[in-house]
């Protein structure tokens, strides 16, 4: 385990020494829980409509596909007119676009970022690399199937998909959300052990808590 995650004695600015145990103090140990739907179908539909019309994307580009998101932010394709925008922190985002190949090193950061996002949250796999490895099918350090490690709501095929394909993907994601089928976060909570086992199988130096948010 990394040195900064080990238990240590810290001296505060007021001169009082206290013990810090980062794994317990800096992270929440509670596993994720399933969020039940609203008490009534019509209310849940209203919520889903609101969620689908404000897709906020985490500004985290994991692979070369991130380059396709830049034209979407700017006037040429202007995704903002569909209620899609990019946010700088996982706390404000509800959609994580895994943009292209995901190396095991980035997967670790992607998992952390995903777990820090608030419910309800969605994952879109962008490009063939997230589906079956794409051109990195025989690479020693990229994962081949994203849905083994994070719950994926939608895939957008292509290598690379054009910005138009992404816009179509966002429209399809809206339909999925409105139909109440974008239950990725609940799926993650329900099959938490399975996802963790898969993640730990490829990340050999696991040095973070099982769930961190």
């Amino acid at each position: 385990m990394k040195e900064e995650l080990q238990k240590r004695i810290v001296k505060g600015p007021d001169g009082i020494e206290f013990e810090v145990e980062p794994m317990r103090d800096y992270f929440c140990e509670a596993p994720p829980t399933v969020m039940p739907a609203a008490y009534s179908k019509i209310v849940e539909n209203l919520f889903n409509w609101a969620r689908s019309e404000s897709i906020w994307i985490l500004g985290f580009g994991t692979g070369c596909g991130a380059i396709e998101m830049r034209p979407l932010m700017t006037p040429r394709f202007d995704a903002y007119r569909y209620g899609v925008q990019w946010r700088p922190t996982p706390r404000q985002a509800n959609l994580f676009v895994i943009s292209g190949y995901l190396s095991t090193k980035t997967l670790k950061r992607a998992i952390r970022a995903y777990e820090q996002m608030q419910n309800p949250k969605y994952v879109v796999g962008l490009g063939s690399c997230t589906i079956n490895g794409g051109m990195y099918w025989d690479s020693y350090n990229t994962i081949k199937r994203l849905d083994q490690y994070l719950p994926v709501d939608l895939y957008i095929t292509g290598c690379m998909p054009r910005p138009e394909a992404l816009l179509q993907g966002f429209e399809d994601l809206k339909k999925v959300i409105k139909a109440g089928k974008a239950e990725g976060a609940n799926d993650y909570a329900e099959n938490f052990e399975w996802y963790k086992a898969n993640q730990k199988q490829v990340i050999h130096d696991w040095d973070m808590p099982d769930y961190n948010w």
């Binding site: 670790k108 079956n132 490895g133 099918w137 025989d138 020693y140 081949k144 083994q148 050999h204």
Partner: protein, 176 residues
């Protein structure tokens, strides 16, 4: 380049000269001479910039080839020095005191090829890989396909076409 080679040859024992273009050439040398040769090229001949330091795995001959590529900005010339190392327990003297940037290259070579550079700062730190548990991946005896199949879950149904054959069938189906 031949002129420079002949000049250098008066001072150092050099191997063969490979002239790729009029402005880029490679010289094979042995590891004992490398340091003095690098210093001479940097201080006397104007090759002040280390472009890259990289390795080639000649597994059939059981050697690693290190290439030190230097650039002379004023004359727009490049010269590459090739050093052959024994592949077993490969180890080389560090040149981080001549060019500090070499430390990064040496760290990469340590991780990806397993070539050790004792005394190079931070050479044993993780560079790109995290938690790597196999032989260094750039070595040619590392089977990347086998590793990928064993380590990662695969989605069934993936097909690979030979690009030439596939395009021929798509474009000229009647010829078959």
């Amino acid at each position: 380049m031949l002129e420079l080679y002949n000049q250098l040859k008066q001072r150092f024992e050099l191997g063969e000269l490979t002239e790729q273009r009029s402005d880029i050439a490679f010289i094979t040398t042995d590891r004992k001479q490398l340091r003095s040769l690098l210093l001479h090229l940097r201080d006397k001949e104007g090759f002040t910039h280390l472009v890259l330091l990289t390795a080639v795995d000649w597994i059939e001959d059981n050697i690693f080839q290190l290439t030190y590529l230097l650039n002379n900005r004023a004359e727009a010339k490049d010269i590459g020095l090739r050093v052959m190392l024994d592949r077993d327990n490969a180890s080389m003297e560090s040149i981080h005191d001549i060019w500090p940037t070499a430390a990064t290259y040496q760290r990469e070579l340590r991780e990806m090829f397993g070539i050790d550079f004792p005394d190079s700062p931070g050479v044993n730190d993780d560079f790109i890989l995290e938690g790597w548990n196999d032989i260094p991946p750039y070595r040619r005896d590392f089977d990347t396909l086998k590793y990928a199949e064993e380590s990662f879950a695969q989605r069934p149904g993936r097909k690979t076409h030979d690009p030439a054959q596939y395009m021929k069938q798509q474009l000229y189906p009647e010829k078959d």
